[in-house]
Amino acid sequence: MLGKTAGGLYWMSRYLERSENTARMIEAGQRIALTRSSSDEEWISILQAAGTLAGYNAKYDTITGDTAIDWMLRDPANASSVMSVVEMARNNAKLVRTALTREVWEAINECWMVLKDCLARKVSERDLPQVLSKVRQRAAFVRGAMHGTMLRNDIYDFARIGTFIERADNTSRILDVKYYVLLPTALSVGSSIDNVQWESILSSVSAEGGYRLTYGQKVLPHQISQFLILDKRMPRSLSFCIHKIRDNLEYLTQDYGTRLPSADMADALCRSVSERSIHDIFEMGLHEFIAGFLLDLSALGQQTELDYRFNE
């Protein structure tokens, strides 16, 4: 396989994953805006978690739900807006088209066509839920086509690595922005404001249902951390994602018959998560742990690009 193709598959998957994650964050933000009186703070943390606060501030003077949503959904000046990333996912899919099944290509192409159409104009508040669910639905179609039609070979491995690096990155950013409400000291506060924050964290990673199933009705901050960082059953937890990345790098190692530095890095990162309890993590500092994880994750992404010659 061409190095460029591996890179195209990796980025195609990252961008697709990002489109879905961004839609989910907007959904969480909108929900808080509708149910609570003050939501500007919430939009700031959402923009921050999406890594686009600086870009937003460069364009707008004030933060309102209306402009934040438009910025995150469809602003071409925002390289991480849903429309921008879907466009980039499709361009990468075009680049690697020979590596994709017809079903996968058509699902991506249709995703782009549908979203280009419904994001052509500003989305009204009335249409927002429908548009957001369309974004998630289209990403799900692509995932389904990949799952159902692609060979489990290096093509699939690179796509999966991209998906899980992006997902781990997304979950960590959300945790990083909100870490202070998850600290054990926050429990003593126990105000309704914290409940809002906890709810927002869980809903922005689609984890409310999973959390309830696991821990019941009572929401406790250290359990949220446990669930989103260490729970191997939760498909958006750091532990789940990093294990998937390691597995896929391991398949590549076996397939190509050479072990490269990225595989060792993924191993080390897996251990740093699975050998710790949530209490160890609080001990070392939640913020410090997440910040360290984000750095390691980004280094792992870069090493993978290098090991498999994505670029010249």
Binding site: M1, L2, G3, K4, T5, A6, N91, K94, L95, R97, T98, R102, W105, E106, N109, E110, M113, D154, Y256, T258, Y308, R309, E312
Partner: protein, 483 residues
Amino acid sequence: MRQTQNQQGQSQSQCFDEMWGRNDGLREPYGKFNEWFAEEDPARLRAKQREAEEVFRLTGITFNVYGREEAAERLIPFDIVPRIISGREWTKLERGIEQRVRAINAFLHDIYHRQEIVRAGRLPAEMISKNAAFIPEMIGVTPPGGIYTHIVGIDLVRTGDDDFFVLEDNARTPSGVSYMLENRETMLRMFPELFSQNRVQPVSDYPRELHRSLSACAPNATTDTPVVAVMTPGIYNSAYYEHSFLADKMGVELVEGSDLRVVDGRIAMRTTQGYKAIDVIYRRIDDDYLDPLNFNPESALGVPGIMDVYRAGGITIANAPGTGIADDKAIYSYMPDIVEFYTGEKAILQNVPTWRCSDPSSLQYVLDNLADLVVKEVHGSGGYGMLIGPTASKKEIAEFRDKLKSRPGNYIAQPTLSLSTVPIFTKSGLAPRHVDLRPFVLVSPDGIKITPGGLTRVALKKGSLVVNSSQGGGTKDTWVLGD
């Protein structure tokens, strides 16, 4: 039946319709189609037409139009009425095409070696030495297998029952073969019954034949499985869809210049496991961009040093650099002589009479008759920069006259041919529209292979002679019947 007879009455009597002749009754190849069409419900056909367009849109069979932001990606309209050619007609075409392609390869070899045709006084020396498409770097180079034009897409037009003319030779990088294949797939899916009623020769072998033909041209033909790759300028190129389609169907890598470099005297592609040598490169980029060291130094699309590897016999480039001179519009006018010179036979396929405006007496004739002629730029393509006298306004003709006077050598002129028509399906039933035909030819040391079919381009506007997709033309499935 009612509908088709109405249309027959309407068709323009002065030009030849491939379904109805010159109003002298249904032509034989269309017999079964006509029966089928008469029984069809127009509403169902309209739904099918929309369905076909939806399939194309979803598959992303698009082309990019340069310089038109709002239509960055467009579909080429597809018409559901097949263009049908009888086996007998095809056999004759095949002989003519094969002869022409053999002559073109012999011509290319000659002009890059001894230039016998110039010595014999059959072609003026300046036609070669002053031609921008002539590449001095190819002098004395013989490509692997002696093949220059591995893939050719000759443009043919028809004016009567037995009258086919070559319009252009397209010997560098003919495109459109993906439409030939996808149009057929679409028709098979939508109208399977038509294919059980008619014996249509298949075209679907093309990618396999292409792979075989390219492999047979590998520099070291003893290699069992030569590594073939398709080279594209990238995803923004107007024909990118076709490049990825062909790579996919052949099961080979689709590479860009940035994937390639010279490694140990070979051209190699960067894979996830290191550099891997390529034997045959089917490049879809122009000569000028191929090698920044040897040609255009500004090119970021090519591979520095590929020409040096090529000259040393380390890789096959298809088509060979420098083949463009054979489809140059000024050389075109000499093609009947060229065919005769290299094959010793009269050309089977006719040339359209051509005035070379570089010649003062021809220029005078052209200036005097602009309103009746088609004038083309010698190096132009895609229907850009041409004048169609009969449909041009007085102002356009006057403007073109000035351009022509200031650079006569840049133009050739041809009479306006009365192109044949084939019906298309419109809101009010069948209606005749002008067409051309581009069959696809593969050349290797094993022989010349012509796929029975090709790309039929159709002018969708009534009376229009411009079939180019960049100017609003459409395509049709092209059938060659088995006899």
